[in-house]
């Protein structure tokens, strides 16, 4: 059936389904920008239906064993392969137990049916401002493993997103996995977001706090996204909470440095002023929850 509208159908392309990572890397090395990677397809097919992306080749990576990694190595951290879908992440106990900000984030993404297809690596590669995945990954000091025929390199999450729909991958590279550093002992993390009526995020925040009740040992990590093209980790916040001072004062100081670092944008979803205000609201909420005040 066709109603003649472009968004009902996909443009012509050829489908390839490599069986090994090597085979996939050779293919994208040969075809570069003419090949698009298919993991979950939730973003890719939407863009293709709108004719914003018209690849000659669609490379389905779901059959590649090496990309199905989902492993918690305790003190070494957590590794997630490019073919692992969101529901697999939600069902993986170590993520719920130790990487709660990531679990919170995924459980709020789209809906349970789409999560049977969508992937966290697809989310970050899309690199659109309203994408939520990068923000929790920033507080776990995540690195993206970029693979090509020449080998692999690791790109820190805070250097991975370069602009709207722009990531740090070369045309012959594939984001094969992400690696999260384990949170410190005795820590808690969370993720919060505020969405427009169309359910796109206009602000999101993630925070991780170790030793919340012991000021001398307390540490905080904070990141935000969706308020501008690039999600950010605010390093100035790290040390602020490691002091014996009334918590509300520390929160005020942290909010000051967060707002200084932020460059909120105005777009079709929200005005800059509103984003700035909601960033403050969510950050205060996150700090209060983590500090139990």
């Amino acid at each position: 059936m066709s109603f003649g509208s472009s968004y009902l159908t996909l443009p012509d392309f050829e489908y390839v389904k490599p069986k090994s990572l090597q085979e996939a890397l050779q293919f994208i090395d040969q075809h570069k920008d003419e090949a698009e990677i298919l993991a979950g397809g939730v973003g890719l097919f939407a863009f293709m239906k709108e004719r914003l992306v018209e690849p000659r080749w669609v490379v389905d990576i779901k059959a590649i064993k090496e990309l199905q990694t989902l492993r918690d190595d305790g003190s070494k951290g957590l590794s997630i392969g490019a073919a692992v879908n969101m529901n697999q992440l939600l069902d993986f106990a170590p993520i719920k137990d130790k990487y709660k900000a990531l679990h919170d984030c995924i459980s709020l993404l789209s809906d349970p049916l789409l999560r049977n297809r969508s992937t966290i690596i697809g989310d970050i590669c899309e690199a659109l401002p309203y994408v939520d995945g990068p923000t929790p990954l920033l507080i776990f000091d995540t690195e993206v493993e970029a693979a090509s025929v020449k080998g692999t390199r690791r790109i820190p999450m805070n250097e991975f997103i370069r602009g709207v729909a722009e990531n740090a991958l070369e045309p012959n590279e594939l984001a094969a996995a992400i690696h999260l550093k384990p949170p410190p002992e005795n820590s808690k993390s969370l993720f919060l977001k505020h969405t427009s009526s169309s359910e796109f995020s206009i602000v999101n925040v993630a925070a991780l706090c170790a030793n919340p009740s012991r000021p001398e040992a307390r540490t905080m990590k904070f990141a935000y996204g969706a308020i501008g093209p690039i999600p950010k980790r605010v390093h100035e916040v790290d040390g602020i909470f490691k002091r014996k001072a009334p918590v509300p004062r520390l929160i005020d100081e942290a909010i000051d440095s967060i707002k200084k670092s932020a460059e909120p944008m105005t777009d079709v979803l929200a005005k800059a002023e509103y984003r700035s205000h909601m960033l403050e609201v969510l950050a205060v909420r996150a700090f209060r929850r983590l500090l139990g005040s």
Binding site: M1, Y7, L8, T9, L10, P11, D12, F13, E14, Y15, L38, G41, V42, F45, A46, K49, V58, D60, K62, S110, D111, P112, L113, L114, N116, R117
Partner: protein, 156 residues
Amino acid sequence: MKVNEVDRKVTIKDNELLLDVIRDKVGVKSVKASCWRGECGICTVLLDGKPVKSCLVLAVEAEGRDVKTAEALAPEGQLSPLQKIFVEKGAMQCGFCTPSFVLTAHYLLSVNPDPTESEIRDYLSGHICRCGTYKQIIEAILEYAKQNKQGKQAGR
């Protein structure tokens, strides 16, 4: 691909969607088409047992795999116990979205036989019923879970 337990051989192009192939080449019409962009859930099928939105799946991805639609829930001409409760509770108005809700509800109940109301709401959040019969749909699923639990207890 196997559709509702029957092996089906169809010739497709690489860019065809599973939704179109199921409807137009396999001829299963309980899978509906509406938004075509993964928002409404009306094109839901079970792919290897898991619910997915077939407007965002390539038909070629389903090669050699198992696809189930609402037709697989009960023998032809009969209703599954959950479908019967949907009818009893009036969990539909126009009925257009009903096969998709029933399919996802079946999956939910198979992994979580006694869901809370909020779990049901969360799990059905990718489905839209334009007539707004959500209340009755949720009641039907709760009723099924209740009857199922009582049945199990009585059987012991």
